[in-house]
């Protein structure tokens, strides 16, 4: 329904609406909307965390949703990206953040290729375990290797370069009506400890770029090959699809985005330690993709938002977070395995099946 409505709009209208949506997202932390804004933690920081999860979910979506590969060790790529920035920028060098990032994504992509090359020949459920093992190996190596900082981690990780151009005021709702608050401003662009919002803007910009490329790649031979592989790998091979090559490609692309996310994360935190990259995160990442609807980029964005935002919004439940999360996963698996926003295809299939049922019922009742 929604998809058809969207497509029936003329192109300029679509573009205009997207621009408005994007502007809204950028302005979000400054709008201080009631209800949405987190009461106990800095909203800009929360938005940053959420958007990093969104970026990660988009990357993992390529692996899990498009190519159909079970990856339970995605945090490994994330860690490689973060640690590359940490090592080059602080521990064994003092490279500026901007220079560390390309190296970080190359490193994570290479690790993706190295991991994928032997493991993608292994069948589905095993792949999940191997990738999980990989993620833990990365973390344990970082934990035990002194040249990677060991248990204490790496501090003084470089931040993105700042530009000091102007300051943007935020909105104040104290009096029930939004008023411009000139005392609470956010500088454009300062990447320091004091302001969380610019980091969020940076990640948001990256997300937009990734979304564009995601769509371009999905609507091409590459996307078709992934889908065919996921549907019936053997048949795809026999139709001339070099399935291994495309699976490896998906893995590498996922690793690229994972490493990029890690580099962005490190640039804001200023400090990384092995504790930031526990197995739990890989599982949360997969949960974000599955909850949202694997294979649907908007679905996984929604899933990432749920997984990252809800625990922050409902901090008072903090201790019970994981417990509830466990229950939620089970409930999701049983009652809504297709996720919150299943890919258009699954939705179409479900609708078509429903139509079929109705027709059949109609026939029998005649």
């Amino acid at each position: 329904m929604k998809a058809i409505a969207w497509r029936s709009l003329p192109k300029p209208a679509q573009v205009a609406m997207m621009v408005v949506a994007v502007l809204f997202l950028f302005a979000l932390p400054l709008l201080n909307l009631p209800i949405v804004t987190t009461p106990e933690t800095d909203f800009g920081g929360v938005l940053f965390t959420v958007s990093v999860y969104v970026l990660v979910a988009l990357g993992l979506n390529v692996v899990v949703g498009y190519a159909g590969l079970l990856d339970l060790g995605y945090v490994g790529f994330y860690a490689v990206g973060a640690y590359t920035v940490g090592v080059l920028g602080s521990l064994h060098g003092s490279w500026p953040w901007l220079l560390c990032v390309p190296v970080a994504v190359v490193a994570s992509t290479i690790s993706g290729l190295l991991l994928g090359w032997p493991t993608l020949r292994v069948r589905g459920d095993y792949l999940a375990i191997v990738t999980m093992g990989f993620g833990e190996i990365i973390r344990l190596t970082a934990l035990n290797a002194q040249w990677l900082g060991g248990a204490p981690g790496i501090s003084n990780v470089p931040r993105p370069p700042s530009l000091h151009l102007f300051s943007i005021p935020s909105l104040n709702w104290d009096s029930g009506v939004p008023k411009l608050d000139l005392s609470s401003t956010t500088p454009f662009l300062e990447f320091s400890v004091s302001y969380q919002v610019p980091y969020y803007w940076l990640v948001l910009a990256v997300i937009i770029v990734v979304l564009v490329f995601d769509k371009l790649v999905k609507d091409s031979r590459v996307g078709r090959a992934w889908e065919a592989t996921r549907e019936d790998e053997d048949a795809a091979e026999l139709m001339g699809v070099p399935t291994f090559k495309f699976k490896l490609l998906a893995f590498a692309m996922g690793a690229f985005i994972g490493g990029l996310s890690g580099a962005l994360f490190a640039g804001k935190q200023g400090f990384i330690s092995p504790d930031s990259f526990m197995l739990m995160m890989s599982i949360l990442f997969v949960a974000a993709v599955v909850v949202g609807g694997q294979g649907n980029r908007w679905g996984v964005i929604l899933g990432a938002v749920c997984v990252a935002y809800l625990p922050e919004r409902f901090r008072f439940l903090a201790d019970f977070r994981v417990l509830i999360f466990g229950l939620a996963l089970m409930a999701l698996a049983i009652f809504r395995p297709q996720g919150l926003l299943p890919p258009r295809r699954t939705a179409r299939v479900m609708k078509a099946d429903k139509r079929q049922e109705v027709l059949e019922e109609g026939a029998t009742s005649v």
């Binding site: 493991t119 292994v122 191997v130 093992g133 833990e136 089970m330």
Partner: protein, 331 residues
């Protein structure tokens, strides 16, 4: 390297002892995988609950070291019964609540894995939050000691003072070692007997090979799956007892690392293959010990050995040392 050679005997015996624990837990993974092609992610919690059952029963009965032979045997049996019962029940509960509904809906394996992960988190957090949870229903003061400090290690009073039984090289094999290794072997023999001789055991093998034909032959698939989970749970319960005798402490998250290692053992030996699980367990226990003796500052890297072994095995010999066998190996 010197360290390895000097302590070869002790490393070997302790390796076999912990390997026995891995093997028993691995049996649970391999049984479920063989019959359902499902990695029971939550099996680690089945084990963990068994360890708590073992500790608590000892505390309730007031077990201690230096008791008479009859007393000690009584306490050991109590531990065994309690742990096996609790683990078995949790395993069956898991099957019923987390997996059966998915099976009935023909859910894809990724979804089953998600459910398994969710169950695993739920169960471990439940134990880790037992103080809060019991607090919600006002039982926390009554249960006092058993639920307070829910995130902490829970130690077990020493039941058997490790006394030297016989020397092996320069290491004195203790009574605990003998008990653990002996106990494990007994359990393995019992399970082997069960799977190869009993009717239910045959049913398990049939369902593992070809569920549809088995159904056509009158095998009740649901029942067999229940029994499989129960068997795995019981083995994990026994493993929990041996673990507590050897290691002496447990925690709400003690299942995780052990679970991964046991799963590695199962894969190492050939998933779906019972004897493989046993072999894998012992190989892993030894490899861990030897490996950490060779690597300088090795104890920190002990856990890495398991993961690296897992990755390497799956890459180079995914069918494991003995190859898959409970069911048919898929191409």
């Amino acid at each position: 390297m010197d360290f390895l050679l000097q302590n070869f005997a002790s490393l070997t015996v302790t390796g076999i002892a912990i390997g026995a624990v891995y093997a028993l837990v691995a049996l649970g993974y391999t049984l479920v995988y063989g019959v359902l092609r499902l990695i029971n992610f939550a099996h680690s919690e089945v084990f963990m609950y068994g360890t708590f059952a073992a500790v608590w029963i000892v505390k309730i009965l007031g077990g201690h070291a230096g008791g008479s032979v009859v007393q000690t045997i009584f306490w050991l049996l109590a531990m065994l019964v309690a742990a096996m019962a609790v683990s078995g029940l949790i395993a069956i509960g898991l099957e019923f609540l987390a997996y059966r509904p998915l099976r009935k809906r023909h859910a894809p394996p990724l979804i089953a894995l998600i459910s398994a992960i969710g169950a695993s988190f739920f169960l471990s957090e439940l134990m880790g939050l037992r103080d809060r949870v019991t607090g919600l229903v006002g039982l926390d003061t009554t249960l006092g000691d058993y639920v307070s400090g829910a995130r902490n290690n829970v130690g077990m009073p020493e039941l058997i003072h490790p006394e030297r039984v016989f020397p092996l090289g320069n290491y004195d094999v203790t009574s605990v070692d003998v008990l653990v290794i002996g106990g494990a072997i007994v359990m393995m023999l019992l399970l082997d007997r069960f799977v190869s001789r009993s009717r239910l055991g045959k049913g398990m093998r049939a369902v593992a090979q070809d569920a549809e034909s088995a159904a056509l032959m009158g095998v009740n698939r649901d029942r067999i799956i229940q029994v499989t989970f129960l068997a795995g749970g019981v083995m994990a319960g026994a493993a929990a007892v041996l673990y507590m005798l050897k290691i002496g402490a447990t925690r709400y998250d003690a299942g995780f690392v052990l679970g991964v290692k046991a799963f590695t053992a199962a894969v190492l030996g050939g998933i779906g293959n019972l004897r493989g699980a046993l072999l894998g367990g012992f190989v892993l226990g030894l490899a861990e010990n030897y490996g950490s003796a060779i690597i300088p500052n090795g104890t920190a890297w002990k856990d890495v050995v398991a993961f690296v072994l897992l990755v390497v095995i799956l890459l180079f010999r995914p069918t494991g040392i003995l190859g898959e066998s409970l069911g048919r190996a898929r191409a």
